[in-house]
């Protein structure tokens, strides 16, 4: 039943997005009505108007386009990136991945070379370095290896993202490229992955010590198979919870960006901007309420539509506790905003 409702809601969102993209009003923002700024809900405006006199309902419907194009892909990518990085950090730790020293040296020289020469020649340096390091593996150079501190790197990057003020981070990313379409998606992805990564890392760290994983390793299963077939199903229930929450983190970030004036321009309807506008007019409860309602419904719908956990769960006594850890990963970010 709930899955039916969820499917219906998402279908409605997709239809709304399609209408906003291809419909008669495509590319046209909701019209301004300066005679009706911040009016409460009425027969004419079912959800009231915002501080610029635009109809909130129209705004929300038009906003589904950005939701489908920007927020959802960003949430998806952030979850995937976080899961991959977290799993790698948790599984291999600081010592699990080793690189040939000679290959590492060649790579390092290549990167430094790429950085100190003219930008146009950087590509050649990297290409040469990659080729040479591949050669070192093929040849019979001394086989001493160097541990790659994967866990340290992932946690450090996450800590960096957490410690840098949002304004600085986002401004420097925007300075590289104007925040349009795919770049906005990458900015959101880059800033939203750490919570998922930290969770996945903890889970994988716990799981890799379990007897059945040890047994798999002893039986000579490949790492890929161990990760995909044996660990992934057990991590999934938690990740299932993170995906909808990542959406709200992404939208929260979009709200902040909207407030800083980075990202979407105010004529593009967006749920994050609708919430940001509520800050201009704290008495306008209808703005907050309708924005939050739409967001919560979407999150619930996504949660219900994701495939539930499968049999793998049986191996994992603490799966549900870990799953609940994710439920509130966003709080730490909300405090830091």
């Amino acid at each position: 039943m709930s899955r039916w409702l969820a499917g219906l809601w998402l279908l409605a969102l997709l239809l709304a997005a399609a209408w906003a993209q291809f419909g008669p009003a495509a590319g046209q923002p909701a019209p301004l009505n300066l005679e009706q700024l911040s009016h409460p809900p009425s027969a004419q405006h079912w959800l009231g108007t915002d501080p610029y006199g635009r109809d909130v309902l129209t705004d929300l419907i038009l906003g589904t386009r950005q939701l489908v194009i920007i927020s959802l892909p960003a949430a998806l990518l952030a979850s995937a990136l976080g899961a991959v990085l977290g799993a790698a950090a948790g599984y291999w730790g600081n010592t699990g991945v080793r690189l040939r020293t000679s290959a590492a040296v060649v790579l390092l020289i290549g990167i430094v070379g790429a950085l100190v020469t003219e930008p146009a020649e950087a590509g050649w340096w990297l290409l040469a370095a990659a080729g040479l390091s591949a050669c070192t593996y093929a040849s019979f150079l001394p086989a001493t290896t160097l541990a790659l501190p994967l866990d340290w790197a992932v946690l450090g990057a996450a800590a960096w993202l957490g410690a840098v003020p949002r304004l600085v981070l986002v401004l420097s990313l925007v300075a590289l490229h104007a925040p349009a379409g795919w770049w906005l998606v990458s900015i959101l992805t880059l800033t939203c992955w750490p919570s998922t990564a930290r969770l996945t890392r903890t889970l994988v760290q716990q799981l890799r010590q379990r007897p059945y994983v040890e047994a798999g390793r002893a039986a000579g299963y490949s790492t890929g198979r161990l990760l995909w077939v044996h660990l992934a199903p057990n991590v999934w229930p938690s990740l299932r919870n993170t995906l909808p929450l990542n959406l709200s983190i992404c939208l929260g970030l979009q709200t902040t960006l909207g407030f800083l004036g980075i990202g979407l321009s105010p004529d593009q309807a967006d749920w994050g901007l609708t919430l940001a506008n509520a800050r201009l007019e704290p008495g306008a409860w209808w703005l907050v309420l309708s924005g939050l309602l739409a967001l919560t419904c979407t999150m619930a719908a996504i949660y219900h539509l994701l495939p539930a956990s499968d049999a793998g769960l049986a191996h994992l006594p603490t799966a549900s506790t870990a799953a609940d850890v994710t439920n509130s990963q966003q709080i730490s970010t909300s405090i830091e905003q």
């Binding site: 301004l32 300066l34 004036g261 007019e281």
Partner: protein, 576 residues
């Protein structure tokens, strides 16, 4: 159950505490406490730095300059000086003869003499101090001649001549040498050595020692050293929260008869509360935790006026701040004046004024406020909102309207409009402009931008259109920083990149003209030129929206910053 009882007990305890904690500071009938809302911290009270308007306002309570501005009459009046200076031209120099007020003394009882003015100018010209912006202001003063017979008389010797020297020469705060330089290190360094452009003076030992002593941050937060000849002294400064000043028990101007508005100081205590969130400030005002709320947002002002008019007085004198839509005249698409004129017709001025200023504010034809009738060019018509005419003008400028917008020689006309993010007025203007432009098939993209980044973009001319507020005053008509070609880029604030040799000459003539009839004529010519060339189209002059508790009288509201005269506040007589 027990737990709930404990929680409830705690809660009621806290509530009880608030009930008995005194909610407002004690008032005395003659010297009331005034609490003013500020949106941000002044950041520095150092009298030579003055980084923002709030620091200037606070400094005017601590220090005095030779002249000050009387808000309601919009005139310079003597403050530390006894009279306005006498001006004399000789050769290529200007001499400004000043006499300090005979009763003016520092807090230690010593009189304020010409030597203190010389010392102040030395400090303002000393390298290595955070005085860069004030140094530019007094750079026209070459030397000070003191009078052997009267230690209160002195003459400022200025390079060249400009009518504005008289007002500008009195605008820097006079510093007490006995507090700022107790070791008298600058006494041996002549002023002329400091005003010279070369950097040799920075290596003088006395100057270096003075720099070190002066640049200790702690002394500019210490009430003992941060004090001048003003009526107030610093009582406390919690950065980002509150700055408090108390009336000096004995101030030199106390006994003066008759007391001019500039030399009165009634409130016993002035508190500036830093409240960055407008909604919070509004609540605090209505709860009686604040008395004065300057520069209120329009919607809040309109609402408060209808709901709480019994406890507040409302003032909205027109200010000298004008919001303009600036156009980058060096962009290829905007080089033709007709294109810019067309864009200026796409702004729905009257609706904007209603929606953002709630019926207040004032439309204008140019940069000069309509209040200044003697220079305002009132025979120019106010620009209408006329999309149809705009389309005609665009066609005349060579643009062809096609199914995908306007094109000229294959180049499409698309415009980027930049403005400071999170400013509601700008956002409304931008959205409305975009909507009107769309009606005639002209695409405009909106770029709300973070302030620091926006400044950089504007400095480099990387925009087509931008929204900006220009701050003016009724005294100076030196528009060179805004319109001269020398002010393009980092040399000034000419962001529209407007100008040519003729307009530069006109600006310079205006600057040098003293006679008010010819000055008004030249300024009208400039207004006509700007009206035709449209480097920007002025949207409206903003009002200074001010709400003051009815407990106070003698607010003396004015259009000049800060918009009210705190020292003149008195308690209003009890109302029947």
């Amino acid at each position: 159950m027990l737990r709930f009882a404990v929680i409830w007990g705690l809660l009621s305890g806290i509530l009880g505490l608030t009930a008995c904690s005194p909610s407002s500071s004690p008032h005395s009938a003659s010297a009331p406490t005034v609490r003013v809302c500020w949106p941000r911290d002044p950041e520095s009270l150092n009298p030579v730095t003055l980084p923002n308007a709030y620091a200037v306002q606070a400094n005017n309570l601590l220090y005095q300059s030779l002249l000050t501005v009387d808000g309601p009459t919009r005139r310079h009046v003597p403050w530390l000086a006894a009279d306005l200076p006498a001006v004399e031209h000789r050769d290529s120099l200007t001499f400004l003869h000043y006499r300090l007020h005979p009763q003016a003394t520092w807090d230690n009882g010593t009189p304020i003499l010409a030597q203190d003015v010389v010392f102040t100018l030395k400090v303002l010209n000393c390298p290595g101090l955070p005085n860069e912006s004030l140094r530019g202001l007094v750079s026209f003063i070459r030397d000070v001649q003191t009078d052997a017979a009267d230690p209160r008389r002195f003459t400022l010797v200025c390079r060249g001549y400009a009518p504005e020297y008289r007002d500008n020469s009195g605008e820097f705060p006079i510093l007490p040498a006995y507090l700022v330089d107790p070791q008298a290190r600058l006494r041996s360094v002549p002023l002329q050595q400091l005003t010279q452009a070369d950097s040799s003076v920075a290596s003088v030992a006395a100057v270096q020692t003075f720099q070190q002593e002066f640049n200790q941050a702690a002394r500019w937060r210490d009430p003992r050293t941060l004090r001048g000849s003003g009526p107030y002294q610093l009582a406390g400064w919690q950065a980002g929260q509150q700055v408090t000043f108390v009336r000096k028990p004995r101030w030199w101007a106390d006994g003066l008869k008759p007391a001019t508005p500039a030399l009165t100081a009634n409130p016993g205590r002035i508190e500036f509360h830093v409240v960055p969130n407008p909604a919070t400030a509004l609540l605090a005002l209505r709860r009686g935790e604040l008395d004065v709320y300057p520069n209120m947002p329009g919607p809040d002002f309109a609402r408060l006026k209808t709901s709480d008019s019994s406890s507040f007085r409302f003032y909205s004198p027109a200010s000298y701040r004008v919001v303009v839509l600036e156009m980058n005249v060096q962009q290829p698409a905007l080089r033709d004046a007709r294109t810019r004129q067309a864009l200026a017709l796409l702004v729905d001025y009257d609706r904007l004024l209603r929606a953002t200023q709630y019926g207040q504010g004032q439309r204008t034809t140019g940069l000069i406020s309509p209040r200044e009738k003697w220079v305002y060019h009132d025979s120019l018509p106010l620009r209408p909102y006329a999309p149809a005419e705009a389309a005609t003008l665009l066609q005349r400028a060579g643009w062809q309207r096609g199914p995908d917008g306007w094109r000229r020689a294959g180049q499409p006309l698309t415009l980027r409009l930049f403005y400071s993010a999170s400013d509601r007025t700008y956002a409304t203007v931008a959205l409305l402009f975009q909507q009107s432009a769309r009606q005639i098939g002209l695409p405009v993209t909106l770029h709300p931008t973070e302030a620091g980044q926006l400044s950089e973009l504007r400095r480099n001319g990387e925009f087509d259109l931008s929204l900006r507020t220009l701050y003016g005053n009724p005294f100076a008509y030196d528009l060179r920083p805004l319109l001269h070609t020398g002010s393009i880029g980092s040399g000034g604030a000419n962001r529209s990149r407007f100008g040519n040799a003729a307009s530069d000459r006109l600006l310079e003539t205006i600057y040098a003209t003293e006679d008010s009839v010819s000055k008004a004529r030249l300024l009208r010519r400039l207004q006509t030129l700007l009206y035709q060339e449209v480097p920007f189209t002025p949207l409206f002059f903003e009002p200074n929206r001010l709400a003051v508790s009815r407990r106070f009288a003698h607010v003396r509201p004015s259009g000049l910053e800060p918009g009210y005269d705190l020292p003149s506040f008195t308690l209003a007589p009890a109302q029947p």
